[in-house]
Symmetry: C2
Subunit: 239 residues, 2 copies
């Protein structure tokens, strides 16, 4: 995805670091910082593993300069600051649109304290808000960037995270554990005359529904074998 | 949604604050902190608007105590720390499951430095990872909580954020602006003999496709009227 993150007048260097880290978590690399607030922001400790994003960041004086090569500029704002007559866009809608059309995208975030000004927003094609609760609408800068980056790659990242299925036990291994369990139940006289077929079915169903792994069955068999050896033998069927 | 956020051995009070803020951003209120690291974490400045979440937070000594009343406990971990044989769950999958079944859910997050231990994870029904990039898998605690909370309410929050459609200009107002524009074009001899119908159609299409607001058309008409008055009258049709 061709997307740059633009921070306008960020104040806290650690927020810039947190932004870089979230970008890298989701595969974004282009960071542009506009009119950064002193002190020097390249002494940041909050970006483990993402210092390259900071080192390669572009520092410019104006928002116009930051976005000159973009054909879709999205200004973000707290939803309560959007004028009633403006239409608001959400990250979900943006991600749906980007699935259909390729843009040179800039996502623009304002300062922690005041967000983007109306002047800043006039440079943007659209205004976007994360759908937060009305009683706590304003988000932390690093968290807002993290959510936008997550949303933009959500479907793709989900697909790439190949499921690693647990090694589910085979039916045979589960059945062997069941038989061992039944041996123990007989030894402790838990199996009443006539109820064995029904009890067996119920226990088999339960074991399979629990969907145990190979390891679960191994440990269960180990425990049951030890119990079986420790108990007096089945009075009705000593072996 | 019946969901508590459980932080196990968090170290940085400002991360606890950031977690509280993200929770409140997305409508989560129940925070439990296990074996919190000194110094005292109730002197936190990073939770504007969410101090109530901190004030009402439960502080307990063990994870077992924190989750005793939950019937779905999800432990979060960096995807690279998951053992190859374990199946990993994602926030998207969790949110799909919660849409179908109601649980007393706990989302458990480990310390910033080491995450959850294997001992902690043994208390969890499932292990969940956010699908981050393999070259920067580990997330900031506040950002990870923000993404999980966002994901769990994403569809609902999206629906609740009623679209506020911009006051799009009426066709009549746009047509009036077009006629004013054509007046000006005639005055500057931009309309060549014979091309007026075609030019009119093209400009009308462009104007409508731009989907201007009422305000856009008002300002356009204001500008065009002023230009019209400033120019010498149309030589072919003075009025």
């Amino acid at each position: 995805m061709n997307c740059k993150i633009v921070l306008v007048r960020p104040r806290d260097p650690n927020n810039i670091g947190a932004v870089a880290r979230a970008m890298k978590n989701f595969g974004f690399h282009e960071l542009t910082v506009v009119a950064v607030h002193p002190p020097v922001w390249n002494e940041i400790s909050s970006a483990p593993n993402a210092m390259d994003v900071l080192t390669n960041a572009r520092v410019v004086a104006t928002l116009a300069e930051a976005i000159a090569d973009c054909n879709l500029v999205i200004g973000t704002t707290d939803r309560t600051r959007v004028e009633a007559k403006q239409s608001v866009f959400t990250p979900l809608e943006l991600s749906r649109e980007l699935a259909e059309t390729e843009y040179n995208l800039a996502l623009v975030f304002g300062s922690e304290k005041h967000g983007l000004t109306n002047e800043d927003l006039s440079h943007c094609h659209r205004v976007m808000s994360i759908p937060t609760q009305p009683n706590c609408p304003s988000m932390n800068l690093g968290q807002a960037v993290a959510i936008c980056c997550y949303e933009l790659v959500r479907e793709q990242a989900q697909r790439e995270m190949l499921p690693r299925p647990a090694e589910t036990a085979t039916a045979g291994a589960t059945e062997a554990a069941l038989q061992l369990l039944l041996d123990v139940l007989r030894q402790i006289d838990f199996v009443l005359p006539g109820n064995e077929p029904d009890l067996t079915r119920r226990l088999r169903s339960s074991l399979l529904r629990l969907n145990p792994t190979k390891y679960d069955i191994e440990i269960l068999c180990g425990i049951l074998s030890r119990i079986k050896r420790g108990l007096p033998p089945d009075p009705h069927n000593p072996n």
